[in-house]
Structure formats: structure tokens, C-alpha cells
């Protein structure tokens, strides 16, 4: 028994280290003094640690403005994505077999469209709507559930809920919307959490959309800021790493907070 436990713990520690090491290097690197000549080769723990890089970041790119812009995008796009994907998935799951097959086919086809093909049409569309250089083109994909994959994920989860539950609700005279709200969605919480996390990561790290739709620096999002820092000469990489820490922290925090809420509510641990 104890031996099994040791192996298990060792395994957990090994996996933990594997994932934590890059993050640790990022944080340590962000504390290096960029005015010192860098060491040749690997120098894991810098001799002098300084927080100046975090203070100086905004002299290079307005990182806090970018952070606010990124937060606006995810604050709108993530809930809308979960809602739309959940509705669309519900519709697919509750459709007649023939319609369901067709809808799944359409979703899969949409999933396979290379993203480059839609850049120009979308650009033209947003120009026509007068929405260029605003956050809306970045949020708009959420109205289409961000990715058909999230729709299919919900469809799969909803179709595994016993048919009898839906039938009982229908006999009770519930409307489809009420069934979704009272029966289906509460049972699909883990899927909703997964989609929320995936959509968060997608929108948070979205680089190309802001690059082509935004032109005012004050409206840029974090990935554009990081790209800007990455073009600094390698000597100034501590600044890039400080930017990376700043960009990673809210994502990590959001995940940790929501993960606790999620486990408490759905798995009751």
C-alpha cells in the first residue's frame, strides 16, 4: 500500500515539475537585470534579482491598457461562447436523427475551413458594419460559439443524458428553453466549464484577429503587446518574460478560481 503511494506521489511530483519548470524559468528570467551582460549558456538563477522589469514594462508597451482590452474581450466572449455553444449543441442533440446528422455534418465542415480563408471576407464584413478598429470583431466569433468544436462537445454531452429525463420534462409542459435551463444545462456543467476554459484560452491568446482588425495602439490586446516585446533585442528578453508573466497571471488566476468553484459545485468535493 505505502509503496504504491510513494510511486503515485513521485509520479505526481514528476508531472508537476514538468509543467512548472517552464513557468519557473519564465518568472526567474523576468527578474534578471537586462543592463547586465547576459551569461553565456544557461544561467538558471540570476545573481541579482530585480522587479524593475515590471516597472519598466509600460515604457515599452502600454501593457496595462492591453490587459484591460484583453479582459473586455474575454469577459464578453467567454460567456457568450458557452451560451451559444450550449444552445446549438442542445438543438443538435434534440433534433430528429436526420436533421441531427445534417447539423453535425455542417459543424464538421465548418471546423475544417482553413482560418485564412475567412480573414478577408470577415475584414470586408466588419468594414461594411463600421466595426473595424473596435473590440467587436474579436468578440464576434463568440456569437458563432467561437468554434464548431465547442458545439459538438455540448451536443455529445446532451445526447448522453437519458431520453426519459427529456420526455418527463416535456410531459410537464416545459418549453425547450426551460428544459435546457432546468434539465440539460445543469447536467452539462463539466462540459460548460471545459468550453469556458478552452474559449478563454482561445480568445486570450488570439493574435491574428487583433493584428488585422485593430489599428489604434490603445485598443491592442496582450498578444500584440507580447509580440512587440519579442522584437526587442535578445538582451532585453527579461522584459519580454515580465510581459509574459503579466499576460499569464490573469489566465492562471481565472482558471484556479473557477476550478475551485467548479469542483465544489459539480463534483461536490
Amino acid at each position: 500500500m505505502t509503496r504504491k503511494r510513494v510511486v503515485r506521489t513521485a509520479g505526481i511530483v514528476a508531472v508537476f515539475l514538468l509543467f512548472v519548470l517552464p513557468a519557473a524559468l519564465m518568472i526567474l528570467g523576468s527578474l534578471r537585470d537586462p543592463t547586465l551582460i547576459p551569461e553565456r549558456g544557461m544561467d538558471l538563477v540570476p545573481e541579482y534579482l530585480t522587479f524593475d522589469n515590471y516597472r519598466n514594462l509600460s515604457a515599452f508597451v502600454p501593457i496595462w491598457t492591453f490587459m484591460r482590452n484583453s479582459l473586455v474581450v474575454v469577459a464578453l466572449a467567454v460567456p457568450v461562447t458557452v451560451l451559444v455553444a450550449s444552445w446549438a449543441g442542445f438543438a443538435i442533440a434534440r433534433a430528429t436523427p436526420r436533421v441531427r446528422r445534417a447539423l453535425i455534418g455542417v459543424s464538421l465542415a465548418a471546423l475544417m475551413v482553413p482560418i485564412m480563408l475567412v480573414w478577408v471576407p470577415r475584414f470586408v464584413l466588419f468594414k461594411w458594419l463600421g466595426l473595424l478598429d473596435s473590440p467587436w470583431p474579436l468578440i464576434a466569433p463568440a456569437l458563432m460559439a467561437t468554434s464548431p468544436f465547442y458545439v459538438l462537445l455540448f451536443a455529445l454531452v446532451y445526447s448522453r443524458i437519458p431520453r426519459s429525463l427529456y420526455e418527463a420534462a416535456e410531459i410537464d409542459g416545459m418549453s425547450p428553453l426551460t428544459i435546457w435551463r432546468k434539465v440539460a444545462f445543469p447536467l452539462a456543467r463539466p462540459a460548460a466549464f471545459a468550453v469556458a476554459v478552452l474559449a478563454f484560452v482561445w480568445h486570450w491568446s488570439n493574435f491574428f484577429d487583433p493584428l488585422i482588425y485593430l489599428s489604434t495602439t490603445e485598443r491592442f490586446t496582450l498578444p500584440l503587446g507580447l509580440k512587440g516585446l519579442s522584437t526587442l533585442e535578445p538582451r532585453l528578453y527579461p522584459l519580454l518574460l515580465a510581459g509574459a508573466v503579466v499576460a499569464t497571471a490573469p489566465a492562471l488566476l481565472a482558471f484556479l478560481v473557477s476550478q475551485r468553484a467548479f469542483f465544489r459545485r459539480t463534483l461536490e468535493v
Binding site: V72, A75, L76, L211, S215, K227, G228, R235
Partner: protein, 426 residues
Amino acid sequence: MKKLFALSMAVLLLSGCASEDGDGSSDGSADSIEFQVSGDPEEIVVYRSLVGDFEKSHEDIDVKLIDVADKDDHLAKLSTAFTGGNPPDVFLVNFREYSQFVVRDALEPVEPHLESMNIDTADYYEPPLEAFTFAGELQCMPQNISSLVVYYNKSLFKKAGVAAPPDEWSWEDFRSTAVELTSGDVRGVGIEPSIIRLAPFVWTNGGEIVDDPDAPTRFTFDDPAAREALEFIVGLVRDDQAVPTEQEVTAAEDLETMFATGNLGMLLSSRRDTPEFREITSLKWDVAPLPQESVPAGILHSDAYCVAAGSDNQEAALEFISYATGEKGQTITALGGRTVPSRMSVAQSGAFLNPAESPSRSQVFLDAIPNIRRTPVIPTWPEIEDVAEEILTRAFYEDGYTIDDAINDLEEQTSSLFEEGSSAAE
């Protein structure tokens, strides 16, 4: 769920006020132009002050600076915007990349407007004007004329007991200097495996890199003079081991960092590295001309301001370019350190030649101008350079990959690109 929505609305409202304000200034007045440029954050600061100074003297024109971090993103954003019908009014682009926009009829040539812009081309160096002339017309207004020089680390020269590079030197002098500097962790010279580094060596040896510089159809490294240049450079890498290995370059991130950290005696580069090296106070460095053989030759590096065809504010756009390439505008960019001004009076002024700032031999950049040459201007040139870089990297570093292999591959792998480029240019 409800809470989440409430939260998101709150965030939106908080930020909403700020972005609303921004809208008014850029869309409201008729004379508002967009100016797109690429560069690292420090370079962008220079353009920001250029725009700021312009707006001070032109209160009726509002310039919105669109800054893009790197060149590939800059070109991708430009392409999408042009295709989508919403290009920036003015953008800065390299002469090796602008012709793809000309052949798509995306540019408004500046030539017919020179008079109204109060520009006399006689005030400017000839090579960049020539490089930006396509289909018989000056397409864009050049801002700089940089050329390839040899950056050198004065401390390492002293330590190795080697004399500083003179104003005239041959390949053999260059080679022996590189070899003498190479010892321990220090390599003699950093050379990128690219066509734009190799080309001036071919030219000074009396060779050509392509069959016809105006309408190229193929690389000509099979020509003896060109081949000799390729052999000379590859010899520095393979036989003399005076050039950093691929691993050394990767470990240091790039050649500039190797030079900045004192691991490289010399570095072939254009003016663009100057601001970076200036920042490192412990580094003592200067620049020297390229070594020359039978025909004096250098290679042009130049960017220019272009106006998008169909710009709503063409007049304001031209006004801005006239200012940016004028006395004051070029002085501001020259003080930034990265550009060699295309306007002669500014290039010969203290803004560029300031002897108190490194490099003290800035005159080297200007002395190279009479013999400067350029790579061909065809729409597929950027792709041709990419292919050539892969081949030259193999020629530098891959075991068993011979000069003959490189010459064959250079011709074979680029022939379709040359064909595509010359048919697009017609």
C-alpha cells in the same frame, strides 16, 4: 451565469468610456490619415515623435500611427487591408518588398506629385530613388540609404593585437583579420547566410548574382566570379572556422547579441544595429567599409513612404511624406540612430555624423554610396531570398553539402519563382 454576465457588462462599461473618446479624433475630421510602420518598441518611439512633431506644425492634419511589431506581420496586415479595401493612407516599406504592391495597382506613385510636395529629387541620393522607380515612375519616397558595413569590436582588436580595419582593404586582409581574431570563445566575423550579405562580395569580384538585374530570370552563381565569392565566404566558415557555428548563433539568440556580448570581432550588418550597440556602454565599437576586390561595390538597404492608391486623404498623406522625408523629418529619424538619411543635407549634418556618438566612422556609410548596388526589384523577390537563405545555411553548415550542390539548388529551387516574378512584373 447571471453573475458572470453582470461582471462582463461592468467591465465593458468601465472601459467603454475610454474607447469612445478615441473614436471622435480619428474619424471626425476630414484630414486624418493612417500611417503604418513596423519596428520594435524603441523604433516606434522615433516614429511617434516624428508624427508628434508633424502634427504640431500641421494642426489641421491628424496622423494615426499604426505600429506593427515585425515585418511579416506588417506585410500580412497590409495585404489583408488592401484586399479588404481599407489600407492605411501611408506606409513604410523596404525596396525589396514594395513591388508586389505596385503590380497589384495598390500604390499611388509619388512622381506626379513631387512638385506639389515641394520635393526636388536632386536633394536626395540617387540609388534609393532608382530602387523605388518601377514602371518608369517613382513609386514611393525613400527615407534612408543604408549599406552593408563591417561593425568591429575595438577591444577585441586591441586584445588580439590586430590593427583596426583601414578605409581600403582586400578580401585577403579581411580574411586574415577574421582568422587572427578567432580564439577561444571569440569568432572573427559574423555573416548571415543570406543573398543580401553575399551579393556585394559577388559584385566586387566582378560577378553578377542574376543574369539581368532589370529583368532577372535566374541566379548566376555558376559564373566564375560569383562562384569565387561564394567559395570565399563559405571558406571563412568551413576552412577558417572564423564564423560562429549554427549552435553558437542559436545559443546567443543572434549574431547581434554575440557581438554585443564581446564574442564576435566583426559583424556584417547595415545601419540598423547602431541603436542597439549604442545602448551598451561597455562595448567599444566602430564601423569599417566592406573589403573590396576589383570592382568597388556595396549593397543598398532602403525603406520608403508609400501612398495607398485610392486614399481618401491623398493630399494630407503627401503632405506628411513631404515633411517626413524633408529636412526636419529626416533629422528626427536620423537622431534615432537607425537610418542613414536619404536627403544629402541631413546625411552630411551632425544629426547623422555626430563624432561624439558611436560609430565615429559614420562617414563610411556615405563613402559607400557612389558604388552602391541593389538586388533586383521583382514581386517574388522576398520568397527567392527565403529559399536562398535555406540553401546558403546548408552551404555554411551542412556536412557533405558542396558548393556545387548549393549552386545547383540555388538555380533549380528558385527558377519557378523568377518566372512567376517576371511574368507578374509585365
